[in-house]
Each structure stands twice: as structure tokens, then as C-alpha cells.
């Protein structure tokens, strides 16, 4: 997984298991979720509601909403979320304009 990533992690730190769209990933505990997913080789976080175009993190500061993912039925910004053990993350379905997933 790591070798496919467009990003390099400068340090290694203790990892926990996180699920992304059904695949198990080992991500650094307490890390920024968007950064950790990018480093694990995840490039596409969601598809836009308008034309299903792929999107990934753009601003990393909570302003652009392009890093939206779904966690426990709630659509959240991955760049504003911390990695915790057992997190179940998926690509949001059909939302983008709304915050709450149906």
C-alpha cells in the first residue's frame, strides 16, 4: 500500500487499524486522518454530487470540504478528524451539499 502512495512519511509512529471503504489500513494513532489516508495511498476521498468527479484533500485546514468522508453515518472533514483505533471510514454517498448523510 505504502509504495503506491504519492506521499512519504518522514517518521514512523505506532499504528492502529482503520477501515477505509472496506479495506483495512494501519494508520498512525492520533494522526490527522486526511494526512494518514494520503500517506497510505488513498487519493480519492469522495465523488462530487454534481458530476461524480473524484476529489481529495485540497486545503488541509477545514475550509474547502473536498476531504469529506463518512464516519458512523456522519459526513465529516477528514482533515479535521484524528485517527483512532477501529475508525470505520467510507466514501460519502451522494452528498456534498449536506452535512448529514442519509
Amino acid at each position: 500500500m505504502k509504495t503506491d502512495s504519492a506521499f512519504l512519511e518522514l517518521e514512523d509512529s505506532p499504528r492502529v487499524a482503520v477501515w477505509f471503504d472496506g479495506a483495512e489500513l494501519e494508520l498512525p494513532e492520533g494522526a490527522n486522518l486526511a494526512a494518514a489516508l494520503l500517506a497510505a495511498g488513498v487519493g480519492v476521498f469522495r465523488h462530487t454530487p454534481v458530476s461524480s468527479e473524484p476529489r481529495g484533500p485540497f486545503c488541509m485546514m477545514g475550509a474547502c470540504f473536498d476531504c469529506l468522508v463518512e464516519i458512523d453515518g456522519i459526513v465529516r472533514q477528514a482533515c479535521m478528524t484524528e485517527v483512532v483505533e477501529g475508525l470505520r471510514v467510507s466514501r460519502p454517498h451522494g452528498t456534498g451539499g449536506e452535512h448529514e448523510a442519509e
Binding site: 504519492a6 486545503c59 477545514g62 451539499g97
Partner: protein, 464 residues
């Protein structure tokens, strides 16, 4: 509801400095910030980042620790992970934290919400793998994550900083594609006096450029016709430079052509804004203390006009001196005595700005993109759509919403607002001030029903 003399929004240099200064003068201060640790974006996660990779990030970044330390040692109540979504008269500030909504009341509010990257809509800028240069910096500071094969595109000192940091980390960028031209540099030479006064700043910039040159990172200047392409993600950047068409293969494209004030919160409470032609952005109307036209509302730092981290720190202190004086904690004479050296430092630090603004102007083609280019990332509205809305009679950004949904997605126009104003201004032959900007209404950030349901109820408030 908890009440503070002063609520500050944003824990970057302006917010941290303002909070500690106000607390020193006896005000009760609540500092609300979205991140889990203080620093803002410029000093993001500074306490941990300096330990791990201070060598890569450099000494200017490390300076942020003096601010976080002072904040820790102060009586300021710093609420982390607090996303502010509404500011009401009086003042009542609503925010969410950890899945619950909460409120705090304040006599006065200081907005220290900093800057956003200037939107850089070029063809392909919505592809995964395209990020702002600021995002790359945040990845490096907070997470130690760095793009392996990146091309940096745009103009401005931040490009050199991130490039030098990547070199130090052993992962130099593949190339710098710079939009500024020699003519810009010649124009900037007129501001050489200011540049000399800001010599330490300039010297740092030259050192960064030397580091980049030593690593043999190719630099292309005067770049035009920039386009990013790829199947489902960024794979190439093409552009014209020096009379030749070029195409670079890469995984990551980092865009930057300056930063602009983040005006969302200020606009939501009716602070007046004016077009600043030198900075090609709207700035709130504030006086030298950060006082706005809305009673009890102050703005400090890049959110009041771009000056950079050091200016922001000083501006935060100045605003708090004024607030302390108004609250009767400080005589005006005392305020002026404490403020004098700060005003001098601010003038010194601002001296370089006219030179920088002239040497690294925003990329024209990204200010007025070609018709096909998406300008509103959320709702996928193109520049051509906005021009069509203008033809149909839209004079201002809010009228475009009758035709399409620009600025109505979750980012609320943060990354399209200036572009919409620019396109409408050009199409209608108006100034940006005449054209205006999106009306910003709460919620400033999305809030869920679950978060609202978890809010402390008004009855509890009454019982307090």
C-alpha cells in the same frame, strides 16, 4: 452560558498574542480554535513539530513556540477543536466541539481568523493530487507527510519556503513553475526602498532561493497556459514558459499565488469590507487598533489584511491593548506607551510588502479563468457559467444564485468568492466594490442536528 470579557476566534499568531495580552491586563478571555493544538496554520502544531522536524521547518517556524508557551502560562481559557458557526449580537458565539454544540457570551469579540489561499482556478485544479501549497505545509508541519513527486505552481515567497523545506527533507520538488515575470520584478524594483528596510526578510528569501538552486530544482518563470491533467488524478502539468510549451509528469501539484484575508466571520456580522487593489482582495475596514465599524468587534492579523505572521502577532497585541483600555483596565496613556514600540515594529515588518506585492502578483489567468474552468469547486460552476449569469443580468454575486449555485456548497464561497466577484466585475464593467461579495450567513460551518440536539438547553442556562 459562560460569559467572558473577550472571546477571540482563532489561535494563530494574532489570536494567541491577543489572548495573552488581554489576560495580562485582567480581562477574562476565551480563545476558540478549530485545531486541537494552538498555532493556527502558520505555526500549526508547532510544539510537537519543532521537536520532530524543526531542522526542516526552520527557525521562523520555531518562533511560534514563544506564543504557545505564553498562552499556556496565561489565564486564557483555550477551547480546542471548537468550530464556530454563528456569532449573534450581544455577543453570543455558537460552536461545536466533539459532536456537541455549545455557546459562550462575550462583551467584545476579536476575530483572528487569518488567511486563506487565494483561489487558483486553472484547468484541472479540482483533480485529486492538486492541493494548495499551504496544504503541503500543513501536511509537513502537523504530520511529517511530504509529496514525493510534486510540481509547485504559482508565485510568491511561500513557494520558495515549501520548496526549500522539501529539499531539506530530502524530497525536493520536481520543478517550480512560476507565473511572475521579469517585468514584475522590474516593477517591484520601484519599491526597492521598502525592500531594503525589510532587508532581513529579503535576505531570508534569497537564502531559500539559493537552497533551491543548490538542489538543482528546475525553475520556469513567466508561466502561462497552465493546465493540470490526468485520469482521475493529477498526472501532468502543462504550461508555456520562455516561448516553449512544456509538460511535466508528477503525482502532486501544489498551487499558490498568495493568500487573502479570511473574511467569512466578519462578513457574517456585518463588518464593512473594501477592495484592496494592491493585495487584489477584500479586506475588512479597520483602524490601526483593529476596531471595526461594528461596536465591540475587532479584527487582527491576516484576516484584517495580509501582513504575515510577525505583523499578525503585533496586531493581536495592539487590539488587546485597545480592548483593555476600553474595558477600563488600562489608561489611554498606558495603552499608548505600550503600543508605541509595537507600531514601530509593525511598520518595519510591513515595509517589504509593496515590494512583494509587485514582485509576485497573482496569476492573471487564474483571476479571470477561461470559460471551461471550474471556479466553484463545491457546485462545479465554471467561469463561463458566471459570464452567462452576467449576460442574463447578474450584477452581483448574490444574484448569480438565482441562476446557479456558486458559493452555495459547504465551503460557502471560500474558494470561489473572489473569482466570482472578479468575473462579474469584468463582465459588467464595474469595480469589485460595486460588484460586492457573497452575503455570508450562519452557519459559517455546517452543523448537524445531532450536534444541536446535544447542546446545553436554554433552561439550563437560565438556572445558571
Amino acid at each position: 452560558m459562560k460569559r467572558s470579557d473577550l472571546v477571540i476566534i482563532g489561535a494563530g499568531p494574532a489570536g494567541m498574542a491577543a489572548a495573552t495580552t488581554a489576560a495580562e491586563h485582567g480581562l477574562s478571555v476565551t480563545l476558540l480554535d478549530e485545531q486541537s493544538r494552538p498555532g493556527g496554520q502558520i505555526y500549526r502544531d508547532v510544539d510537537r513539530a519543532v521537536e520532530k522536524r524543526g531542522g526542516i521547518l526552520g527557525p521562523d517556524f520555531g518562533h511560534g513556540r514563544t506564543l504557545t508557551r505564553a498562552l499556556r502560562e496565561s489565564a486564557v481559557e483555550h477551547v480546542t477543536g471548537a468550530v464556530v458557526w454563528s456569532i449573534e449580537d450581544g455577543f453570543r458565539i455558537s460552536y461545536t466541539k466533539g459532536g456537541r454544540a455549545a455557546q459562550v457570551a462575550a462583551d467584545r469579540i476579536l476575530l483572528a481568523t487569518g488567511a486563506l489561499e487565494r483561489p487558483m482556478p486553472v484547468p484541472g485544479w479540482t483533480l485529486p493530487g492538486v492541493m494548495t501549497a499551504g496544504a503541503a505545509q500543513i501536511l509537513l508541519k502537523q504530520s511529517g507527510v511530504i509529496a514525493r513527486r510534486a510540481v509547485l505552481v504559482g508565485s510568491g515567497p511561500l513557494l520558495y519556503l515549501i520548496a526549500a523545506q522539501m529539499v531539506r527533507a530530502g524530497t525536493p520538488p520536481l520543478a517550480l513553475v512560476e507565473t511572475q515575470s521579469r517585468a514584475d520584478l522590474r516593477r517591484a524594483a520601484r519599491h526597492a526602498g521598502g525592500a531594503l528596510r525589510g532587508w532581513p526578510y529579503l535576505a531570508k528569501g534569497l537564502k531559500l532561493m539559493a537552497e533551491i538552486a543548490r538542489a538543482r530544482v528546475p525553475r520556469f518563470t513567466g508561466a502561462t497556459d497552465i493546465a493540470i491533467e490526468g485520469a482521475g488524478r493529477a498526472e501532468t502539468v502543462s504550461f508555456r514558459s520562455g516561448g516553449k510549451s512544456r509538460r511535466l509528469v508528477c503525482d502532486t501539484v501544489l498551487l499558490h499565488h498568495g493568500v487573502v484575508p479570511n473574511t467569512q466571520a466578519a462578513r457574517s456580522i456585518g463588518v464593512a469590507h473594501r477592495w484592496n487593489a494592491t493585495q487584489a482582495a477584500f479586506s475588512p475596514v479597520v483602524d490601526r487598533w483593529g476596531i471595526t465599524g461594528v461596536e465591540g468587534v475587532y479584527i487582527a492579523g491576516d484576516g484584517a489584511g495580509i501582513g504575515g505572521a510577525e505583523v499578525a502577532e503585533v496586531a493581536g497585541r495592539l487590539a488587546s491593548l485597545q480592548i483593555a483600555a476600553e474595558a477600563g483596565r488600562l489608561s489611554e496613556a498606558e495603552r499608548d506607551r505600550l503600543a508605541a514600540p509595537l507600531f514601530r515594529k509593525k511598520a518595519r515588518d510591513m515595509a517589504i510588502r509593496p515590494f512583494l506585492d509587485a514582485a509576485f502578483p497573482p496569476a492573471t489567468e487564474a483571476l479571470l479563468p477561461e470559460d471551461k474552468t471550474i471556479i466553484c469547486r463545491c457546485e462545479e460552476v465554471t467561469a463561463g457559467d458566471i459570464r452567462r449569469y452576467a449576460q442574463m443580468g447578474s450584477l452581483g454575486p448574490n444574484q448569480t444564485k438565482a441562476f446557479g449555485r456558486p458559493g452555495m456548497g459547504p465551503c460557502q464561497g471560500r474558494y470561489c468568492g473572489l473569482t466570482v466577484t472578479a468575473i462579474l466585475s469584468e463582465a459588467n464593467g464595474q469595480t469589485p466594490d460595486e460588484t460586492g461579495y457573497f452575503r455570508i450567513r450562519p452557519p459559517l460551518k455546517p452543523v448537524t442536528l445531532g450536534e444541536l440536539a446535544a447542546m446545553e438547553t436554554p433552561q439550563q442556562d437560565a438556572a445558571e
